[in-house]
Subunit: 357 residues, 4 copies
Amino acid sequence: MSGFWGNKLKISIFGESHGKGIGITVDGLESGFSVDFDEVQREMERRAPGRNSMSTARKEGDKVEIMSGYFNEKTTGTPLCGVIFNQDTKSKDYTTQQILMRPGHADYPGHLRYNGFNDYRGGGHFSGRITAPIVFAGAICKQLLQAKGIEVVSHIKAIGEVEDKQIDYCSIDIEEFKKAQSKEMAVLDDEALLKMKDKILEVKQQEDSIGGVIECAIIGVPGGVGNPFFDSVESTIAHLAFSVPAVKAIEFGKGFDITKLTGSKANDEYYYEGDVVKTNTNNNGGITGGITNGMPIIFRVGIKPTPSIYKEQDTINISTKTNDKLKIVGRHDPCIVQRAVPVIEAIAAIGIYDLIK
Amino acid sequence: MSGFWGNKLKISIFGESHGKGIGITVDGLESGFSVDFDEVQREMERRAPGRNSMSTARKEGDKVEIMSGYFNEKTTGTPLCGVIFNQDTKSKDYTTQQILMRPGHADYPGHLRYNGFNDYRGGGHFSGRITAPIVFAGAICKQLLQAKGIEVVSHIKAIGEVEDKQIDYCSIDIEEFKKAQSKEMAVLDDEALLKMKDKILEVKQQEDSIGGVIECAIIGVPGGVGNPFFDSVESTIAHLAFSVPAVKAIEFGKGFDITKLTGSKANDEYYYEGDVVKTNTNNNGGITGGITNGMPIIFRVGIKPTPSIYKEQDTINISTKTNDKLKIVGRHDPCIVQRAVPVIEAIAAIGIYDLIK
Amino acid sequence: MSGFWGNKLKISIFGESHGKGIGITVDGLESGFSVDFDEVQREMERRAPGRNSMSTARKEGDKVEIMSGYFNEKTTGTPLCGVIFNQDTKSKDYTTQQILMRPGHADYPGHLRYNGFNDYRGGGHFSGRITAPIVFAGAICKQLLQAKGIEVVSHIKAIGEVEDKQIDYCSIDIEEFKKAQSKEMAVLDDEALLKMKDKILEVKQQEDSIGGVIECAIIGVPGGVGNPFFDSVESTIAHLAFSVPAVKAIEFGKGFDITKLTGSKANDEYYYEGDVVKTNTNNNGGITGGITNGMPIIFRVGIKPTPSIYKEQDTINISTKTNDKLKIVGRHDPCIVQRAVPVIEAIAAIGIYDLIK
Amino acid sequence: MSGFWGNKLKISIFGESHGKGIGITVDGLESGFSVDFDEVQREMERRAPGRNSMSTARKEGDKVEIMSGYFNEKTTGTPLCGVIFNQDTKSKDYTTQQILMRPGHADYPGHLRYNGFNDYRGGGHFSGRITAPIVFAGAICKQLLQAKGIEVVSHIKAIGEVEDKQIDYCSIDIEEFKKAQSKEMAVLDDEALLKMKDKILEVKQQEDSIGGVIECAIIGVPGGVGNPFFDSVESTIAHLAFSVPAVKAIEFGKGFDITKLTGSKANDEYYYEGDVVKTNTNNNGGITGGITNGMPIIFRVGIKPTPSIYKEQDTINISTKTNDKLKIVGRHDPCIVQRAVPVIEAIAAIGIYDLIK
């Protein structure tokens, strides 16, 4: 099933890029919690299009209307539904999108999956725009987690080959991350930021696009959260991460690089710091056996380059059943990574809230 | 919940390394299917310990007894349960395992998660041994998929820094993979195999261990399988992959490397080969928008080095609440990657069967 | 979890009686189906308040706005969300509802469940009004089932002690049921209808209320639908039926009366009518072993009298923690049974569509 | 899916009447709980066949072997699996069961559901014998609930037309119920018991069978347990109850009879008894709006007469596709109600434990 997820917290999403609206229903929230909706809106704006030269010109306020589940300025505990009505949907001829399958997009698989009946306008239900409701739900979960002393932060680890600074997995500087949030892009190192921006503007000028890596840290989760096997912390976060369009890879702790270490280097050795159990390295990213050990949870996701590019591409015409050429017009991002940052934080918060509840 | 998974196919696992037995219940199998149990047993043996100098000396036949769901040599369609009774459980003093937390293992997180009541003998329910029932269920799913023209194959892509040959994502040579299965390790290139073996024996001699990467290909899945968002093909396979102990990373298609490409290079352009839609590259690993496009599904998982090593390690003693030293004795693998190969194929088969059913 | 249900079809509801809006997201619908929304609206109106002297004076058009999942006059197959914006929500002082717990209502249990944070205005999320979105989803499922030759019909079997005619479980006259739908109440026998109406107006005059029984038949479901044990047809329908406020009982076929028969009378003996397998009685209501046998599915639900009555009642004041008196003012139905008829048909359609998909 | 159930507690069953064994895996139990297995075994024996003149002569010790999840005499918190190996499976010719469909049984629906591949010997997976593992899991849940001050008790409310005494829904005499458990049948009134026994022996002599009603009370559940709509207490218990073979009806509180009352009689008025909230009647069976109010939960299930009778019956021969006659031979119960009592208590305990966890 595509749009439903969850165990103790449940979410269901709906909507298409150019339909009437998009939204999410969240069930299982605790009652009596005061949401800071200004903060929620700030999270929405981190994802929203049209913020600077590096993203699409489409402008959407992404203002969420609360339909239910919030009363007297507190969560009721019954289903909370938020809806975003689509505004800036340019009316135009979508015939091309119906018959010329954009490479790297869901057009062709979606066409097969739904026998040609899916909404093809702007990607329809497959649009990255549907991540806006996920950011909304995630923003609420982030606040719920903060009330329990848990922070979710992230930075752009890489744009193409350009890398941000290496963070210390054992000791996350939350303030440094928060400071980065207010920059043009969520990058810790300012020099790296400039290089990344250059890279994005370079590919933009080439009518092309570029991908990148987002690194996320969840700090303050106590040890003992998660499960062996099918609902491991990694399974939960990875399941949600791969729900985000354009994510093609995920790794925890040192990830693929841990495979090159010997066990004596890879194992995170425990020690007591006073009463608190810590590990002297955090190659496992705070999780062993699918369960947290109290150290920061660290993971990275790989985001592919925006498939929408202005350059002409080869593709198929499913109407004529012939090979064809495609030049995508319209508004799109040369790089989606910076806008995906709050989405990745959102799914991290949703996943951890479900596990911890 | 730890031990239950699935939508249209459901599985539930149970068991501990040194308990009475381990097993799996599989519900939602089609009725009337003749399982080749000799083939199932061969899959079990690919995972079983004690096969050569590179794995633990523990010997388990891993003979599965069918409790239900199979009648007159065909699946009934009602729950099929397979049990493996534990045999070679050396009785010994497990006190050390109770108080000295093995680094890299689930001992400490498991202790927290279950308030100290989990079975600590040999890792208990966290033992890699519990993957045997998963291989059993996966072996049945593989046969069910084969009957639909779908093959699941894999090879060891890397042990430490040693890499196997690069495969062609667009055109998988199934026979080459099957041939590799009968080798000492599932490696395509014989020279790479020797180097990998050398590496494993080297770390073994150093009382250490090493990790690696398994690359899996699923061929023959028609386009249109999977879902947008929460039950994407990637979400389904990743969820199951991270249920396998020691997996710390997964990537589809070019994975993390796709983030370094420009969109014009990353996008897999479509073309008609006769009536069949293909892509000229397969950087997305056969999946866009969470749904298959008909090309081979390609993914890689990173397996960390076996955390059990003979070398002395620092750790904590949770009884005395002091820092301590630990030298792990007993039998264990210097590298678990080769034994994880059939497990990864099993979860791939289980995931795809659930999606395709 | 309160608001989520389903396996192959999934639904999630949201909303409160006096909030901004109520709605439902439906996932797993087949793509390419043209919904007759006029027919959907007729179903909505069967449930809507304010239709005649026997129901509440509250008027709601219950006009559903389609947010997503419907494109070019066909289902897309992706989540379909329908929203009803609340209109006729009289602004008034709800203080009484907050502190004086209405007997027979969810006020007090809801207060406990949500620690006092639930929306108490008009019952909030517990309002029978939230069944409107269920009728909407059910109306679509009914049309999907009709396209497969399956009809869902029902009648008011009883209001208080007044009973409608006995139907033939083996042979349902669909036309007779459809004719009854257009009557003031869905009663097959006109004399019974008049007596029922008299009964309702009598209790209304007494500032009291009355309950009743709805009998539902599902015709055309082939044999072999359903499951043994946990997802039996009865389990599925009963689960959904008890989701409907005021339902306190359900029985299939002869129900409780079958317990008084001997096996030789109770057993439905099979016979071939040409190639078709039938039973000469249908005491089991078309289901044995949790699975359909091809005969009409028959079930009855018992609906309790509307708990909202004008008569003064004893209750508690949770603010002063003292015993108190309550006289409920405002608009309410002396009998809810006639408005529950389309709700019961809706859950029957939803349940069967999920099982049959 | 047939054999899997649960949210916070999950169970999966497997097995056939004449297969190797039957069993259940239970996941989500709290860790560190000492199960009284003698008490569990007593529950198993309450259900077991062959206890007296009123039940089948088949003898099964129904001894459960614990495969996992129990260590050092405490639950580990990881999946607990219990297996019962079948012993007294008379080897005989089952050809008749394959082609002559027993009326009232699952033979024919099961044949359709599984395309003829289901195990037909003794009903296979549809056998009432598969309720033994459910009693096992329920017995553990009962003990877990007892530790929280919650008792699950029940009595045979009726065999055919013979009724046991009316209980006081507001005040359950647990000792009276426990005393009844040690009687030949769980009946409160001794005279009623004798009449019921006479009735059963009478139908037995007539080569026939009879049904009955079981009434169950759950005492000590605090108010505020359950959910509005889809996971109401009634939905949860009803779902599980209809998983039990032969159950055809369920009602809560006054059930169908509440439909005949006026609201002023039906509503359970609240009052404070000291600090404790009570109701002066309990017509709603302790549940309003799907959530408990702190009063005893009361429900009744209707059990149909055993479909296996010695009397000759009309039926179909699916091999010749002709109408035929059937005389069932072998061992079977003239009344299953008394053996179903612990099964109903088990599902009540499982359902409440899941909701309360």
